[in-house]
Amino acid sequence: MLNEIQKNILAIVADMKGTGEGAVNIRSDGQKAFRRNTEHIVIESKTDKDGIDIRIAPGTKDESVHIPVVLTKGGFKDMVYNDFFVGEGADVTIVAGCGIHNCSDCDSQHDGIHTFYVGKNAKVKYIEKHYGEGEGEGKRILNPQTVLYLEEGASVTLETSQIRGVDDTKRYTKVECRGAGSEVIIRENLLTHGDQKAVSEMDVFLSGFDTKAQVISRSVAQDASAQIFYPRVSGDNKCFGHVQCDAIIMGSAKVRAIPEISCNHVDASLIHEAAIGRIAGEQIMKLMTLGLTAEQAEQKILEGFLR
């Protein structure tokens, strides 16, 4: 059913062995390749457009949903809409992720729009990895959009990472913490190399009372790649928000970070920090005194930074 290339990509982007466990939907080259529902988690194909609805029953505990996407056909362009309805008090881990294997000279592209409706007091951990491989001249393009609406007391952790091999990416993340006491943590890790380009835009609206947002962006730009970050947080109620952009720049790469915080309420407290720089020489030296070569030291530092 799944070939070796597909299995390998699934392991990389979704930590899956074969078809994994729990609720699963594997999409391969625009087709449903595998699906498994559980008692509490039901996945259905949309009828009006490409994509799926994922319904997680209220009170579902310690379950996981894996919905990886694999593109192996060169020149294939895919666009999907996935909607998640997370019931009240549920506590789940959702693993998405997309891997492109492009051996052709035509561009391969996957655009995914993920919308989450997170119910009262529900807890979601969302993990998304993006990865590209293949020898073709064709580009590997990924444009993910992630939109979240949080009800009272809901809490979401987003962990998104672009590991390697994605030539062009435009990410957009929008979070509305509408319900009182809701909170979101967004961790974004990005690695670009060669002449890759990455743009990441984020809008976080803290409109509910006593809401919290933490944005932690870590990125490494190697070779002649370029990255731009626009994290924007707006506080419209008593809230706390912290944006932290940290980038390591190497070779002739370019990184721009433009964090924006807007306070529209006297009890809103927002902070942003942004730092871009090369790996400190002292860090490399220190690891060399521990016996690593300069290259190994650099690799070790990047590994930790992007963990």
């Binding site: 060399m288 521990l290 930074f305």
Partner: protein, 244 residues
């Protein structure tokens, strides 16, 4: 044995060059406990960094166990058994104390031995092993982790640069015990840069560095009174001695 012969280190300054080290020659015998002390800015750290290979000297040579290592990289010197604890250790975002100790040991360390090294510097392993070596650690904590990485390398020559700096009284006592123990068991040659009487008093030999040169060297009994006299008089006898 470490032999430093006519070592000089000069850096380009605004108006010409600045001599940081001038014609420094000294030897450190195997398994000795040697303390390097002297006024701030005297060149102690520069000397240690030159031995480790972090600074490339502009003249002279360094021999380690009979081999000329002057042109070897930091990595090669580390692999030959030299280690150095930084005066101001760098921090690493995302790297855990455990990771750093593993790199130092050159292998995945057992939980118990990682704990042993942390205990030797007065840190409770349970609280620190999974902490990131980043800005969340206090100055004294980073410094002690730095020392633990040197201990974990188990090198033949361990150089510590002001290991006492920023360290509380209790951890300091634990640390001096650790140095004493390494010395007693003849586990390594210890070269410590220090301003602390308690460490100076442990030394087999003291080397006084001032103005980029060796100003004096000898046993604690010979050198310590000189240092005290300087402090008491408030003027530097060393400078008077050197007529500069």
């Amino acid at each position: 044995m470490l032999e430093i012969k006519h070592l000089s280190y000069r850096v380009d300054g605004e108006d010409g060059g600045v001599d940081i080290l001038r014609d420094v020659s000294l030897t450190v015998e195997d398994k000795k406990f040697v303390v390097v002390t002297g006024p701030n800015g005297g060149g102690k750290t520069s000397l240690a960094r030159a031995v480790m290979g972090i600074y490339q000297p502009t003249g002279g040579s360094i021999f380690w166990n009979g081999e000329d290592i002057t042109r070897l990289s930091v990595t090669e010197r580390a692999q030959r058994g030299i280690s150095y604890g930084f005066q101001q250790p760098p921090r690493f975002k995302g790297m855990k104390v455990r990771d750093l100790l593993n790199v130092a040991a050159g292998k995945e360390m057992s939980h118990d031995s990682a704990c042993d090294y942390l205990t030797k510097v007065g840190l409770c392993a349970r609280d620190y092993i999974d902490r990131d070596v980043d800005a969340s650690l206090s100055g004294g904590e980073v410094k002690r982790i730095e020392i633990a990485t040197v201990l974990a390398r188990r090198s033949e020559l361990m150089i510590f640069d002001e290991p006492e700096a920023g360290i509380d009284l209790w951890s300091f006592a634990r640390l001096t015990d650790t140095f004493q123990e390494i010395h007693d068991k003849k586990e390594a040659t210890i070269l410590i840069i220090s301003h602390q009487e308690r460490i100076i008093r442990l030394a087999d030999e003291i080397i006084l560095i001032a103005n980029g040169a060796v100003a004096a060297r000898g046993s604690v009994e010979e050198i310590y009174p000189k240092i005290i006299a300087d402090t008491v008089t408030g003027c530097s006898r060393l400078e008077v001695d050197r007529k500069c």
